[in-house]
């Protein structure tokens, strides 16, 4: 793998770190199987790209994209909490709705951004090549959000969010408005995914309607890889672990695709993902078996 490809993999890995943090909130903390992610990631890309092409300043465009993702997550929560639609189904409904919405927003299947200013253009330096400065910028964003999330989960409201996912009946008895917490948690989760999508579009120079497919699998892969590497249940460790999981996942994929002797090609990406996730799901089991045999 070339030096250039390595930094490229890191950049995408950090961007998916945002998705991983979002998936950590929905799947692990709220225990809400939320597939909205497959729609909110390209939603972030679509909103950011469309606004930038329309002449918006890239930072505000990215902010609006993030808020749009939050709104999508809140609607999924509303479908589940208010209309009593099963969690998984509610998120699937929102996901397919977003496919059409994203097409409407862009007005066509893809919007190129190559010639447009992006958030990355503001950080171009003469001393550091762009392929290095961009991953570092995304890294700074991910670290800032990880720290903010750690802080939030340590507040009283954050604790109420965790209790809502872990034991909703007890949470209600302790005065937690669990419905509101589900809405807020999904909004936060999908806002992070949309931010990821907005940065992804600006990093790749295009927003494409199909770029959301499989986002949830990548997010889950990152969470699973992170969790199998760190056994700690401490949240500060877990938020770091899933970001690292996203980066490692991306590096594995880049390695697999770049190792010519294996003969894998870009279209094998989803197969590689499936195999990688399977391996990481089995690792803890194997470890346990080994330990048992030793004793």
């Amino acid at each position: 793998m070339s030096w250039y490809a390595l930094w490229g993999a890191l950049e995408i890995g950090f961007i998916y770190g945002l998705v991983a943090l979002g998936v950590l909130i929905s799947f692990r903390i709220l225990r809400f199987p939320d597939l909205t992610v497959d729609g909110s990631f390209p939603l972030g890309a679509a909103v950011a790209a469309t606004l930038i092409v329309a002449g918006w300043e890239p930072f505000s465009a990215t902010l609006v994209a993030t808020l749009a993702g939050g709104l999508a997550g809140a609607i999924t929560g509303w479908l589940n909490v208010r209309l009593r639609i099963m969690d998984l189904l509610a998120s699937i409904l929102m996901m397919i709705a977003l496919y059409s919405i994203n097409l409407r927003i862009m007005g066509r299947p893809n919007v190129p951004l190559i010639t447009e200013p992006t958030v990355f253009s503001f950080f171009e330096l003469d001393t550091v090549p762009e392929y290095i400065s961009r991953p570092l910028l995304v890294l700074a964003v991910v670290v800032a959000i990880k720290l903010a999330l750690d802080w939030y989960l340590g507040t009283r409201t954050g604790l109420a969010l965790r209790a809502t996912g872990s034991n909703p009946r007890m949470a209600r008895a302790q005065g937690v408005a669990t419905g509101v917490m589900v809405l807020a948690g999904l909004a936060l989760s999908n806002a992070l995914c949309a931010l990821g999508g907005a940065l992804f579009a600006q990093s790749q120079g295009v927003s494409d309607i199909s770029m959301g497919i499989g986002t949830i699998v990548i997010g889950l892969a990152a969470v699973i890889v992170g969790e199998s590497l760190f056994s700690s249940r401490k949240l500060i460790v877990m938020t770091a672990a899933v970001v690292l999981g996203a980066v490692l996942y991306r590096l594995f994929v880049a390695l697999a695709l770049n190792a010519d002797f294996i003969g894998l090609q870009a279209q094998d990406l989803n197969l590689i993902t499936a195999v990688l996730v399977t391996i990481f799901l089995v690792v803890p089991l194997l470890r346990q078996k080994l330990r048992e045999r030793r004793n």
């Binding site: 939030y152 340590g154 507040t155 009283r156 409201t157 954050g158 604790l159 109420a160 965790r162 209790a163 872990s166 034991n167 009946r169 007890m170 949470a171 209600r172 008895a173 302790q174 005065g175 937690v176 408005a177 669990t178 249940r233």
Partner: protein
């Protein structure tokens, strides 16, 4: 004071499995009174507690706590007034959270949570103090996940949590039934101490006739969704388990077949 008036709740109305759980139940509990509740399966004990906590909505009737009509107020909004310990020890605490996080969650029951830190050093020292009362050594394990504790230990913590903030009424739903006898006695003892110390208005459902008479100030018996026996004071002191059992059989119009009622 809690005033329940003419409560009606029917589950699965109009279907073959229709259950009329409460049929015009009325009950008044003065502030500070400790009431024990007995009754056979299906008498409406749990439904009464659920009606007060907001988990079951009334078809008819009203519940007023200190002048506030509860109406269709959701569970979480009642939490400022109603504290509860469940029968299942796993239900009352959050197994993924640590002991101190569980207590912190209960410490803001009924208040606005906001974005303040959930835990501070003041709070921790208060928690340590409270946990020390239990004599289980939990004051040194604040940062252990509560899922690591036994059912009895978790139930004891649930009780502390219920008493951490003031409440207008404490609901105990057979909270010792799932524990082994020795632990159950321990949890019951703590219940007594906490209720007495904090002068809590309490409604405790129990399956044990002896517990029902020995603990608290007043005993009520439910049958088919109504209060069929209500004793306090002198009359209650004179009542013993065999007599209560006889009364129980008389209202049911049949002999008691449930051993659990005789034992314990």
């Amino acid at each position: 004071m809690l005033k329940a008036d003419n409560l009606h709740i029917t589950f699965n109305a109009g279907s073959p499995i229709e259950t009329r759980a409460l049929r015009g139940l009325s009950l008044e509990i003065p502030t500070g009174q400790f009431v024990t509740v007995i009754g056979s399966n299906g008498a409406g004990k749990s439904t009464l507690l659920n009606a007060i906590s907001g988990e079951a909505m009334l078809d008819r009737g009203s519940i007023v706590i200190d002048g506030t009509e509860l109406g269709r107020m959701p569970v979480w909004r009642r939490a400022a007034r109603v504290a509860r310990v469940f029968q299942d020890p796993l239900l009352g605490t959050c197994e993924d959270l640590t002991i101190e996080e569980n207590l912190a969650l209960a410490a803001s029951r009924g208040g606005r949570r906001g974005l303040r830190r959930a835990l501070g050093s003041n709070m921790r020292s208060e928690f340590r103090e409270r946990l020390a009362i239990l004599g289980l050594g939990l004051e040194d394990r604040l940062q252990d996940r509560i899922g690591l504790l036994s059912g009895g230990q978790r139930q004891a913590v649930s009780l502390l949590m219920a008493a951490l903030r003031p409440s207008r009424i404490l609901l105990l739903d057979e909270h010792t039934a799932a524990l082994d006898p020795r632990i159950a006695a321990f949890v019951l003892d703590i219940t007594r101490r906490i209720v007495a110390e904090r002068k809590l208005t309490t409604l405790m459902v129990t399956h044990s006739m002896r517990q029902a008479l020995e603990i608290g100030d007043r005993t009520i018996m439910l049958h088919q969704g109504q209060v069929v026996l209500d004793v306090a004071g002198e009359a209650r002191t004179r009542l013993d388990v065999p007599q209560l059992l006889e009364l129980f059989e008389r209202v049911r119009g049949e002999t008691v077949w449930d051993d659990a009622l005789l034992l314990g």
